[in-house]
């Protein structure tokens, strides 16, 4: 059988591939999308947020970054303007190189019943990115 000069079985075969792609994309998005919240937004959700995978971003509260005595895990607190600090525990090993006070942190993980965020990934956003601050902000006058 021909449709527009093309054998209909090719439309069927093409349609099967298109449907398979659409199905995979939809299922993939439902299963793997992670909501991105600020510390304040996470806290506003209250206990309902427990045990769900979230990405939370906030600034590292100065002086709160500590290594566990085993040397592997780290503890720290993050906060954003107007939120109370959220304590985060991370035992993944790969601590970002630039982690430090007042660096923006993105942690992915779940909130436990004690209100501690158990992260399985921690990323640090580089404040200068790959571009540098303009020369006005650098002290190069004396150089």
């Amino acid at each position: 059988m021909l449709v527009g000069g093309v054998n209909i079985k090719f439309f069927v075969a093409g349609g099967v591939i298109a449907l398979a792609v659409a199905y995979l994309v939809l299922m993939g998005l439902q299963g793997t999308t992670v909501y991105f919240l600020t510390v304040g937004e996470l806290q506003a959700k209250g206990p309902a947020a427990q045990n769900q995978l979230y990405r939370v971003s906030g600034m590292l509260v100065p002086g709160t970054l500590n290594r566990e005595s085993s040397g592997l895990g780290i503890h720290f607190e993050i906060a954003d303007a107007g939120s109370s600090p959220l304590s985060v525990v991370y035992r993944g090993g790969q601590v970002p190189d630039i982690m430090g006070d007042n660096i923006e942190i993105v942690a992915e993980g779940k909130l436990n019943a004690q209100g501690t965020f158990m992260a399985n990934t921690v990323l640090a956003k580089c404040p200068s990115k790959l571009e540098n601050a303009p020369p006005e902000e650098h002290d190069y006058a004396g150089a």
């Binding site: 054998n7 995979l24 998005l29 992670v34 991105f36 790959l130």
Partner: protein, 664 residues
């Protein structure tokens, strides 16, 4: 210095505009001199852009910090080759690099197509499209993001290169990738030439095939090198993170791969004419989209460049080329009928068609996953992140289907396969797969993804080996050559086909490496006191403290480790000018079977007495991916090698029938 560069850029912009106007007007008024003048202007624009690059490179080489761009991206402590590589490390420089590479491509095309011939009819349009893109880049360089911006008071020393870029990979990965994106402009320009002239047959396909192959090769190598760089530098144990910037460089390559396959349908059977035009357009759109994403900061990424003023310009340019070229395509659609119809689902044509749909399907999935965070934020005001799990889950099965087709396709005859064809062609590879899978099972491979993935790779391997064997034996029995000579001549005389098979082997090596390292990666972490050890997958890592050294401009902390008795020293480097941003140098011991990959994640204490925190990954088959990259290069070069001209002799002119006294 600054003003010379700036003058070159503005001059190149003016010449590019002139080249477009003269070429198009020349066609309209049918004036050859005007067309020639347009092409001369394109040559001159190329010269000016290359000169501008030379100026910037010189400024880097002599540490001319009166240029803001030089000051921002280099300093006196950097070795000369990295100082020169800093050329393309920032936004303005990579724009100039793009303009330069595209200008050079333009010059190559103009030179290769200079002789009179059927291709000359396309050249005014090809020149115009290339100069339109060069013009766009020089517009940005001249008026929006100039690398020649001067600083009021030249500082004594520069800021320097970002530590992440301080690596051997910097010399080769960015230039390959950026040039690979730009190179798609050339086949696109021929497509526009075909649409504008209405000569929609095979000419433009044959003209642009080699340029498309070169673009495909450069972009493919750029991607493999990017993976290699990420693996060595980023220290998370992997080589492909499905980061937006990686995705946008992969998408034009995937569509380009579809194009390279589907043009064979047009050359052999006169089919898919509109489709081929559309594919090369999409490859070009995605390349421009890639440059836009890389440089606009619109998507959050590890490559996060600062948000910049050039985003809206890119969007306007992209809209213009999409609307313009799709408009041309619709206008010509009535002339783009197929010469032939598809006959059977079991045919070479059908497998090419399925291959194309899968490539586009994968591209669509990656595109959607990449821009979904933007869509969700714009439409639903929700910030979401789409990470590697999405891409692995969606793209994995589609890549598997593609591998299957890679085995089936080359064994399918054109038009229609018969029962004997199928038995004849698939019996050996299919039995090979069963035997291979049984062996893998006995070796302890039980994971079903691994069995499916390796099984598909074995199938492709079997079909390729069968093709080489059959061809060699057939040639040997026809010519009586020795096996080696027969194989050599077989490849030389059918270089396009057998080069393609070598590329298929390369892809299956990359596929096997991806399956092995995804399914069987093992990792362990520990904080080790001197003499303490960690076991991961049969490797014993023993720590002996740290060692600190201070070569000029940098402080290097090395973890002193042994892995099964051999020394391994992963590092952290603290550059004087980027103290808060140390960079990682992974300790790597690589074998064909697996890599031991050690990251120094921290330390506590002094030198030999320090506790050392390490993350250890054992990554199977990763080196297969790099071998695959090399084989990809070899296969593509075989395919691109100029074809052997068959020896010919002109036949004596046949006397007309009437002359022999025979009634016609």
């Amino acid at each position: 210095m600054a003003s010379l560069g700036q003058v070159c850029i503005v001059g190149a912009f003016a010449l590019a505009i002139y080249a477009i106007v003269a070429s198009l007007l020349g066609v309209k008024k049918n004036q050859r001199e005007l067309i020639a003048s347009g092409q001369n202007a394109a040559w001159a624009a190329t010269g000016l852009v290359v000169t501008a690059s030379g100026v910037l490179l010189t400024a880097f080489a002599v540490h001319d910090f009166s240029l803001r761009y030089v000051w921002e991206h280099s300093n006196r402590a950097m070795p000369l080759d990295l100082v020169l590589a800093a050329f393309y490390s920032g936004q303005q420089g990579s724009l100039l690099y793009w303009a330069t590479s595209l200008s050079i491509f333009t010059a190559i095309v103009l030179y290769q197509q200079r002789k009179p011939g059927p291709q000359r009819i396309f050249m005014p349009y090809v020149t115009s499209v290339l100069m339109l893109t060069v013009g766009f880049m020089t517009l940005l360089l001249g008026f929006v993001a100039s690398p020649f911006e001067a600083l009021p008071r030249p500082p004594q020393d520069g800021v320097g290169l970002n530590p992440l870029l301080y690596d051997e990979g910097m010399r080769i990965h960015p230039p390959m990738l950026l040039a690979g994106l730009m190179a798609w402009t050339v086949p696109f320009a021929f497509a526009i030439g075909a649409l504008a002239t209405g000569k929609l047959g095979n000419e433009w396909v044959q003209l642009s095939r080699r340029y498309a192959m070169v673009a495909w090769l450069i972009l493919g190598l750029g991607n493999v090198l990017g993976a290699w760089w990420a693996y060595h530098v980023l220290g998370w144990g992997g080589y492909w993170g499905w980061d937006p910037v990686e995705n946008v460089a992969l998408m034009p390559w995937l569509v380009g791969t579809a194009f390279i396959h589907s043009i064979q349908m047009q050359e052999r059977r006169g089919m898919l004419k509109a489709w081929n035009l559309a594919l090369v357009m999409v490859a070009f759109f995605l390349s421009i989209f890639g440059t836009f994403v890389v440089r606009s900061g619109i998507l959050a990424s590890v490559h996060a460049f600062a948000l910049s003023a050039i985003g809206p310009y890119f969007l306007a340019f992209l809209t213009f080329v999409v609307v313009g070229s799709l408009g041309l395509l619709f206008w010509r659609l009535p002339k783009l009928r197929s010469d032939n119809q598809l006959d059977s689902l079991l045919s070479r044509e059908a497998s090419f068609l399925m291959n194309n749909l899968l490539f586009l399907g994968i591209t669509f999935a990656i595109f959607w996953g990449t821009i979904y965070p933007l869509v969700a934020e714009a439409l639903a005001d929700q910030k979401v992140s789409v990470g590697p799990p999405f891409f692995k889950q969606v793209v994995g099965p589609l890549l598997g289907a593609l591998l299957l087709l890679m085995g089936i396709g080359p064994l399918m005859p054109w038009r229609r396969a018969s029962r004997e064809n199928l038995q004849n062609n698939f019996l050996v590879p299919a039995s090979g797969v069963l035997i291979g899978l049984a062996m893998l099972f006995l070796l302890g491979i039980r994971d079903r993804f691994a069995l499916i993935g390796f099984g598909l790779c074995l199938f492709v391997f079997g079909t390729v080996v069968q093709e080489f064997t059959r061809g060699t034996l057939a040639r040997r029995s026809a010519t009586g050559e020795h096996y080696v000579a027969a194989l050599g001549n077989l490849v030389r005389r059918n270089n396009r086909r057998y080069g393609g098979y070598v590329v298929h082997l390369a892809i299956l090596l990359i596929g096997a490496g991806a399956v092995g390292s995804n399914v069987y990666q093992q990792e362990g972490q520990a904080s080790l006191a001197p003499g303490a050890s960690l076991n991961v997958a049969g490797y014993t890592v023993v720590a002996h403290g740290i060692q600190t050294t201070t070569p000029p401009g940098v402080r290097v902390v090395e973890g002193l480790l042994t892995v099964n008795g051999e020394d391994l020293r992963p590092q952290k480097q603290f550059f004087d000018n980027f103290q808060n941003q140390p960079s990682t140098k992974v300790g790597l011991r690589s074998t064909p079977v697996e890599d031991v990959y050690v990251v120094l994640s921290g330390w506590d204490g002094e030198e030999g007495a320090a506790r050392v925190s390490v993350a250890v990954f054992v990554n199977p088959l990763v080196s297969w991916i790099w071998t695959g990259g090399l084989l990809l290069l070899i296969g593509a070069l075989i395919s691109l090698w100029p074809a052997v001209q068959p020896a010919t002799r002109t036949a004596p002119a046949r006397a007309p029938l009437g002359a022999l006294g025979v009634a016609p």
